[in-house]
Symmetry: C2
Subunit: 119 residues, 2 copies
Amino acid sequence: MSFDPATLTFDANGLIPCIAQDADGGEVLMMAWMNAASVARTLETGRVTYWSRSRQSYWIKGESSGHVQELVELRVDCDRDCLLALVRQSGPACHTNRRSCFYTALREGDEVEIMTPTE
Amino acid sequence: MSFDPATLTFDANGLIPCIAQDADGGEVLMMAWMNAASVARTLETGRVTYWSRSRQSYWIKGESSGHVQELVELRVDCDRDCLLALVRQSGPACHTNRRSCFYTALREGDEVEIMTPTE
């Protein structure tokens, strides 16, 4: 491919945030981090692959849970320091078994759970 | 309010990423950063207020351009280290005058501009 992930702007740890959005419904599912190699792997394999900061290793989303993210399109922002992945999400995106990680809303000063875990 | 922004998880610079999404159409508009005080200001004023890393100052979105973001709802993710702001965006969100900052798509290895500036 002619696109070179090295042309993106990475932070001091060599990472760039990537927002995953449901390609069909538009729901924002999660945000995680990628390094240049995981950007390349994501584009090559069509399977969204983050970099796990806690494990310091590639994180092929859904590899253990089966809750994979099939890449529909990867987009770059104006500053080239944030990515948006349009995905087809199998099952819940969140490790809490909720569809999205953003299941807590702030309403009138309180935290309100607006999504329940599946099953 | 009972919600305390200090309960969020901030990075080494005291910042947390905030994704802005159009509350009606669902479009992901931009991602920028907040510190605890800008989270509080956003909730108090209903005007999305980031922290500008380049200027090291509050960044009331649209204060100079008029392209304000009216907060509809702020959400917190499972790890409490990322925010999602549902907003009503006046005009373009991007400083390039495009509706969204994510106007560059990677298609078959090439960067493709999928949005044109307004006007």
